[in-house]
């Protein structure tokens, strides 16, 4: 462990979770339109993912941007690598690349365009918010 426990917790979470979304708010209650849109794209593919709310502690966002060299939220990591923020994930959703990167088959009823926000009645998500618990 280094002397930076927040950064350690972030890198550990990225390593431990195959798909992990750092966002403002939660998938059920996103606090920013860009985070909502990114979570909604994942939901539309029916994939399970871990989600971390960066808002409770400003250090999470600062350290995350240091780790990823990416200045904005949300950030989606897949198998340890930054896949993108809202714009890239939306583009990848619409081109089919997102399903490919997540190794899922898009459901037959998945909308062609990335949903604007999470649909009510979407299937429950698996959320693990390790960072906040430990901070």
């Amino acid at each position: 462990m280094s002397d930076n426990p927040v950064r350690d917790a972030i890198t550990e979470a990225i390593t431990e979770h195959e798909i992990i979304l750092f966002m403002k708010g939660t998938p059920e209650q996103p606090r920013c339109g860009f985070s909502a849109r990114t979570a909604a794209a994942l939901d539309a593919l029916g994939t399970e993912y871990a989600a971390v709310d960066v808002l409770p502690d400003p250090r999470i966002r600062a350290e995350l941007s240091g780790v990823s060299n990416w200045p904005t939220i949300p950030q989606l990591f897949v198998r340890g690598e930054l896949l993108g923020g809202c714009d890239i994930i939306t583009e990848m959703y619409e081109s089919g690349e997102l399903a490919e990167a997540l190794r899922v088959q898009a459901p037959a009823d998945a909308p062609q365009h990335a949903p604007a926000a999470a649909e009510p009645g979407a299937p429950p998500l698996q959320i693990q918010n390790d960072l906040v618990d430990r901070a």
């Binding site: 860009f34 200045p71 904005t72 714009d87 890239i88």
Partner: protein, 75 residues
């Protein structure tokens, strides 16, 4: 408060050969959308293309520029 024209000029001034179109998403002068086309992007991944544009503004992203939504391509 940065204007769409400020952002356009800074992007075009920092990335060789770039053409940028910038719009203000909310009219509030802090949520922008930019489409940036630059020949140098041909050698970069999509993530690296976005990083290149974000780098023009450094710490202003998340500060005075609350959000900068991007679409980038080489041509």
């Amino acid at each position: 408060m940065p204007s769409t024209n400020d952002l356009k000029q800074r992007i075009e001034g920092s990335i060789p050969g770039a053409r940028a179109e910038v719009s203000d998403l909310t009219g509030g002068g802090d949520h922008f959308r930019a489409t940036v086309i630059a020949p140098d992007f041909a050698a970069l991944s999509r993530i690296e293309q976005h990083r290149r544009v974000y780098a023009v503004f450094g710490a202003e992203i998340g500060g005075p520029i609350h959000a900068l939504s991007l679409e980038t391509r080489a041509e």
